[in-house]
Symmetry: C2
Subunit: 370 residues, 2 copies
């Protein structure tokens, strides 16, 4: 089902409002403060209804006239001021680049620094994100990027003074590299796809891209190149918002399941922006242990499951969500019993093009796990 | 200086010649065999004159009628047959995909497999590469890809039945993802650049790309995103062959130096294709410990060198090449003495755009290390 896009917040205006409130507090002779949602484990909940990890309702006040918070409050204001500057200049950096600006901010003639370690600034950036209700990308802070896609869609990238048009169906062997920020100054138009196929490994993405799988199947072919970056999780979410089904294709092992899980439900680390980066609508298309029954040749191509794989499968069996989804119980028990796992690469065993035939077949018959 | 491009070998024809020779041996009642250059450490030399790591002259014969080699000989022939098939079909896979084809090759009704572990097939692929004088990419085996570039150059990518034209000056925030194979069915045209800047970290590449550094400086802006992949090393070599100077920009620490070293001289693992992936003409543009004298604000932005950094610097001081290059001795001694290191990210301390000013200044004054 197509969801309406949430209107983006204007991060610069949010920063200004925060600043004005704090100046107001000071002028009134009050203790300047702001409120941030608590991000400790105790306030991270799995939202049963929505199907993703998010923060609960617990909030904490950060105030200046509090011996334990005074320094951090001042540091947070320094971060806010820097981000406001970046937004005004229209320039981006990373949380590492921001740290160096903060470290330098008292100037080279002053011995002391506002910050000594990046571990001081990182949690305060998250404070700002939750307090303002924006993502760091909205504050012009780039995150690591990883992930590539190809398919029938166009990107309109307003980059500096230029409007760059990129046709993701004309990127050849390379594909289009998914950027850190897929929300600001960038648009996705003419998105024509029956579904999005998220392929764990770049090697398999290249295989399918070479077969022009996305063209034949009218889908978008995307690889997170392993665990999905913030930008990749976000673009998957945005494509799902357009009402396009999302299928995730990974190895049948602990790492593959984790990649699927993270795309679907988000992660503890990013629970504070859970709704923006989780895609509960995602379905698992393979490879599965049950594939061994239908595609019998795969029995020759299983490999030994590691201790980590088996231990992880045992842990997952205790999840309430898994208990309710028998297909997953069967999958996990089968690995634990056989101590074997299956890689997506194995589908190339009989012929290189079999990978695409397998996916086509699964999509056609809607053979997916929840 | 511009070097003439080495004419590429036709890998398919090379495989056929090898096959015909072996059939010839058998028909003559001789022991079928082929010769591969030895790849053990004892046969890896640092070529003083050329400035890179390559194999020496030691060769080994692989023959069928030799109890110790019989199985491996048969396995190598199976690999050669598979690669010949891939080339005939015009399809690519990875060494993992090849392994699964080999594992399956006796069919699902036969209990035994030609290969049990990928560790069996990997060295035999290298045997084939050195024996035929081709790279695995020429055998349609993709390697991991990593690395992005932007700049005034065009890519003509003959991909399947299509000719895709990519303009690397119109890739916006993303850049063009460097593929695994930059030699076959791909051409680089209209390459207009005064130099190539290789930036260790993607974060700094994004910073410079946003400043349109490559446009203002008329250079090619490339990041290997950490240690350079085979494809990225190869494209740097190809750009150097066009007579374009290569500057490498990394952190001043063990990892940064290693990245530079690998680009410049190649590596032990890839010594068997040393000349194809090493760029001895590369120069180190920074950041350097000596930058602390010229850009005094950086003194506030150094961070503690790790034990690994100091140990590595001490080891490097014993290299003959380093001993002959006093600039490097000074660099290494300075880190060892101060136990401080400097990251390229620190150049953003005073203002985000300083990174570009720094590089411009260094290029203009040719302030580079050998």
């Amino acid at each position: 089902m197509k969801k309406p896009e949430k209107p983006a917040k204007d991060a610069k205006r949010e920063l200004e409002t925060m600043g004005n409130n704090i100046v107001g507090d000071i002028k009134k002779g009050e203790n300047p403060s702001f409120v941030a949602t608590t991000r400790t484990r105790s306030n991270i909940v799995y939202d049963q209804k929505e199907g993703y990890l998010r923060l609960g309702k617990a909030e904490e006040e950060r105030s200046f006239l509090n011996v334990a918070q005074s320094k951090k409050f001042m540091q947070t204001m320094a971060i806010a001021a820097k981000c406001h500057k970046f937004l005004t200049e229209g320039l981006h950096t990373t949380i590492r680049g921001l740290f160096y600006q903060l470290k330098f901010s008292l100037g080279e003639d002053v011995d002391e620094s506002l910050f000594e370690e990046q571990s001081e600034s990182n949690p305060l950036i998250e404070d700002l994100e939750v307090s303002l209700g924006v993502k760091r990308e909205d504050l012009n802070l780039n995150a690591n990027r990883k992930g590539v896609l190809a398919g029938s869609m166009k990107v309109v990238d307003t980059f500096g003074n230029e409007k760059v048009n990129i046709d993701c169906s004309k990127m050849g062997r390379s594909g289009w590299q998914i950027p850190s920020d897929v929300d600001n100054d960038i648009e996705f138009v003419d998105v024509k796809a029956k579904y999005v196929l998220v392929v764990e490994k770049d090697a398999l993405w290249q295989r399918l891209n070479e077969d022009q799988f996305w063209k034949k199947e009218n889908c978008i072919l995307l690889t997170p190149q392993g665990q999905a970056s913030r930008g990749t999780r976000r673009i998957i979410r945005k494509l799902a918002d357009k009402g396009i089904p999302i299928y995730v294709f990974t190895d049948s092992d602990a790492w593959g399941w984790y990649i699927y899980w993270t795309i679907k439900t988000g992660s503890i680390n990013l629970a504070y922006i859970g709704g923006d980066v989780a895609t509960p609508e995602a379905r698992f298309i393979g490879v599965t242990m049950s594939d061994l029954d239908k595609y019998t040749f795969l029995n020759k191509l299983t490999i030994a499951a590691s201790e980590v794989d088996v231990k992880r499968a045992q842990e997952m069996l205790n999840y309430e969500w898994i208990k309710k989804h028998k297909e997953w119980v069967t999958e996990l028990e089968r690995m634990i019993k056989s101590k074997k796992k299956l890689e997506q690469d194995a589908l190339q065993g009989p012929r290189l093009t079999f990978v695409g035939e397998y996916i086509k077949d699964k999509v056609k018959n809607n053979e997916v796990l929840p």
